[in-house]
Amino acid sequence: MESMGRLKIYLWRYWRLYLLGGLCLFGTATLVMWIPWWIREAVRILEEGGSLRDVTFYAAIIGLAALAQGGIRTYSRALIFNAGRNVEYDLRNDLFGHLQKLPLAFYQSRRTGDLMSRVINDISAVRVMLGPGVLNFVNAPLYYLYALALMLSMDVRMTLAALAPFPLLIYAAAKFRGRIMKASLDVQQQMSVLSSHVQENLSGMHVVKAYSQEKFQTQQFVALNADFQIKSLDLARLRGIVTPIMQGINGLTVLIVIWYGGVRVMRGDLLVADIVAFIAYLNVLAWPTAAFGWMFSLVERGRAAMKRLEEILNTQPAIASPTTAVPVRGLKNGVEFRDVSFVYERQSNGHPALEGINFSLPVGKSVGLVGRIGSGKSTIAQLVPRLFDVALGEILVDGQDIRKLSLRGLRKLLGYVPQDPFLFSTSLRRNLAFGRDVVSDEELQHAVSIAKLDRDLEIFPRGLDTVVGERGVTLSGGQKQRATLARALVMDPPVLILDDSLSSVDAQTEAEILQGLRSFLREKTCLIISHRISAVKDADEILVLDEGSIIERGSHDQLVERGGVYAELYQQQRLTEELEQI
């Protein structure tokens, strides 16, 4: 029921719409219910051989009521359905806002597709519950009570006779509801089996093709598909039985009215007008009766969906500003790592990714990080903007533990250029200006020229207004990396973190970029991670990492002289460069 608690908040927010919609529903129901009554009056006049004027009077009333009903009904439906859409809108916004607060670790443990389907399908299920669901939930009892009261006031015995098949109807509804739910669950499950098969087949397409497995894969799919077809047909059979049974029972009530009513008309204690009115009321009740099971399934589906959404909404952001955050005003002294250790949650073996890392990055200085893949270089870079939090030790900015700082303030200090360049599918201009609200053309140009993106822009027919594809697919790897560098430079942050962010740029261009960056970096603080020695060799201090620990540190010359791992890497680097020039 917890999930309903949160829903109530949304419902309350639109209580006016719901209340007004509810009143309109009441108005509509009133008019709907009185029309059969007036029909009865009109028919009674015909039966008793009255005047055409009186009949015309009732016909006019019915016509007017119908028009009024049309107007009010429009409002009732529009108001309630729109309220449902409003809740959908709020819920989607809230969910998006919450997702933005969740740390990287959350996204690494979930698949994008899975999250997407929650946000899309589950929200829509909640919306259906709060729009059409609410409408029918209000309407059905309203119609029943109204009709029952009017029918009873006409003739008690006739009402009881007409409603005699209703227990049968309720029994049938209850009996089939469970079976339909089970069958539709089976269908859903088989559908997810089917999609996983497709998913796996497509992910392993190179193996499928290399071993000519297309036929076998198709056979397997066809078998699963056949299963799905059988399960769907089982569901269709149940649904196919329920609808006509409901209709049939409704028809049965009409038959009772005609038969039993007819006998009583012959006896003279009932009018044909009463029969007509009874049939009209039963017609009105046909829809709420048929929709009975459907209504419950809407609510059940909506509640299950809300529960899943709650799971996300109730996930506490593991990384957030503390309640009394220290504001960040520029950088005065620098950044310091003190005895930092870190373990990735997803690493089951518990082997630390970083262990006992100590170094300082004073203002205006630069630190270079080198080491093999998996040595922990990127992890160090990711800890500074708190994409992850340290397990042990602390990272200090101007002597303050970063976990005590305002998260926003901290991140505004840092220009982080990630290894995997991510661009949004919009114009390059908007991508580069992503970090700021207003950017002048000059600032953009400056960043573009440092990142050596200017030559590429000349080739693009639309220059900065070129729209890049999803994740920037229309650009080459090097172009993407240089664009992400420019994006960070536009922010003009006091600290620049380059997380192997020029790996796809050729050595020549990289050298040019680093040359250009040097003047830009003069008064900046910089953490450079690279697999190329050339990128870090001018750093004030170079740290060599291996399996999460610093194994060598010092300046380039010191390290080369030492003849250790760094010197070996440097030697390899030179060979690679030679090779590239052949």
Binding site: G49, L52, V55, T56, A59, A66, L67, Q69, G70, R73, A78, F81, N82, R85, N93, G97, L99, Q100, P103, Y107, M116, I120, S195, V198, Q199, E200, S203, M205, H206, V207, Y211, S212, E214, Q217, Q219, N225, Q229, R237, P244, I245, V254, L255, I258, W259, G262, M266, V272, I275, V276, A280, L387, R411, K412, F422, F424, S425, D546, L575, T576, L579
Partner: protein, 605 residues
Amino acid sequence: MADLSHPEEILGKAYDLRLIRRLWKFITPYKRLFWFAMLLLPLQQAFGLAQPYLMKVGIDQYIAQRDLGGLQTVGLLFLGALAGETVMVFFHYYLTMAVAQRCLADLRAEIFSHVQKLPMSYFDRNPVGRLVTRTTTDVDVLQEMFSSGVMTLISDFLMVVWIVGIMFYLHVELALVSLALIPPMAFAINFFRVKARHTYRQIRERIARINAYLGEAISGMAVIQLFAREEKTYREFDELNADHRDAYHLSNVYEAALYSMVEAAGSVSVALLLWYGGGEVLHGVIGIGTVVAFKEYIHRFFVPLRDFSQKYAVMQSAMSSAERIFQLLDTPVTIDSSKNAVVPKPFRGEVAFDNVWFHYKADDPVLKGVSFRIAPGEKIALVGATGSGKTTTIKLLNRFYDIQKGSIKVSGVDVRDWDLQALRRHIGVVLQDVFLFSGDIRTNLALGDRSVPIERIEKAAHFANADSFIRRLPEGFGAQVRERGSNFSGGQRQLLALARVLVFQPEILVMDEATSSVDTETEALIQDALERVMRDRTCLLIAHRLSTIRNADRIIVLHHGEVREIGSHAELMEKQGIYHRLYQLQYEREELKLAVQETEPKVYG
């Protein structure tokens, strides 16, 4: 019909018609069942529409005449009609769904098997998720079209025709009065359709935009957080979200208005009926029963009109799903066996690249005139720096991609003239990242070929040094492999991949050696297995192991998409060229490490 002058409208109609015609092809195999289901429709409706007529007869002839026996007869007939209708509704629905499920299963299978034939370049461009959606969600939408879209539109139309016919049969003037509101209603519905078409399109566009934005924000969340742009992104999302809500608000108003208007028109028609019919009754022309029957017919007439908007929305989204599906089915299969494909016999494990040019993206050649020859049984190591074109070379051999210039011959025949399936059966491929399918080990080794006897699989596993760890598993060869083989170590997966090659016994082995390190014990097992797998086969290997290049007959050095050096290890080392440097870069360390390991177990204290 004024909207027909609207070009977009005409185009839309023609297009929908074309889509429906294509969908019809999937129904064709079940034509009989389909027509049988359709045949039940008029029967079902006849049973349904007989009921108001029976009411008329009952009231006018028997109740009015106080004929109890007659009333009983009418009652029984009514019961019969009711039972008939119930049974017919069930069979019609069930048979329709049976046709729908069958032809949608066919459609799903066709999409799947078509996707199997698409070239690798297609999968490079299209994300897996999108293709999954085509086979599942989009087909599901089409099912809705059957259950509540096009089928009900047909039955609604038929129903309306019936009712009009009966009304005119019963009383022409009364029919005219009862149906007086039809022209303005038709006008209103058409107005709605034109309006709604636009709004529905808007809604679809906006929901697509929200989803795209959401997907992008989720995958780029780190960037948003790093730049502290949560607020800005939220505002943008809010804008899209609000646009979407507003479009729905509008469509809700349209739908509510249409629904209410039709309901109101129904009641107004009843009022008209009472007024005119009342006069006729009072003049003794008709009985009250006729008025009652007319009232019932009016009711049944307006229900389908009322639900029109829903059905229209279903049809619209079904059409766009169908459009997407057919677009996928129309994607040409560019790599397939040619009409006169051959299977050369006897097969010689001979490979020849002759001046091969290849690019993924125009103007960016990956291979520039690559030529080399591999004799049957020869072991070739392919070396080169990253980006030199090694991986591309092996992908071309089994025709994952077609080359732009030159020729690749296997057993003396151009790969484009080969029967594709046969070609690939002769070439065993082991890639760096070994892909295992979920299922058991046996299925993974035989890749689903049920005819492979278990003895052969066990023998292959034995030769590939994989049986020792397989036998340690509780279920042995029946052990389940989890998605992508995540329950096996990298080394075990490599051993399984080698065993797979031995099961299929291809004459040519192509391998991209894994770079990820495994423990020494497993490494020894892999090397031992690899030696056996390579025996008596033509081998083309992207070498990462020192032992592999040492054991190769010849080494081909690729550099920037060109073959720069060919020869044995000793020859190439002597040459002091690219290979010499590559060796120093990639393999010398390993050699040193091996040397150190032998004397002193630990390198760094």
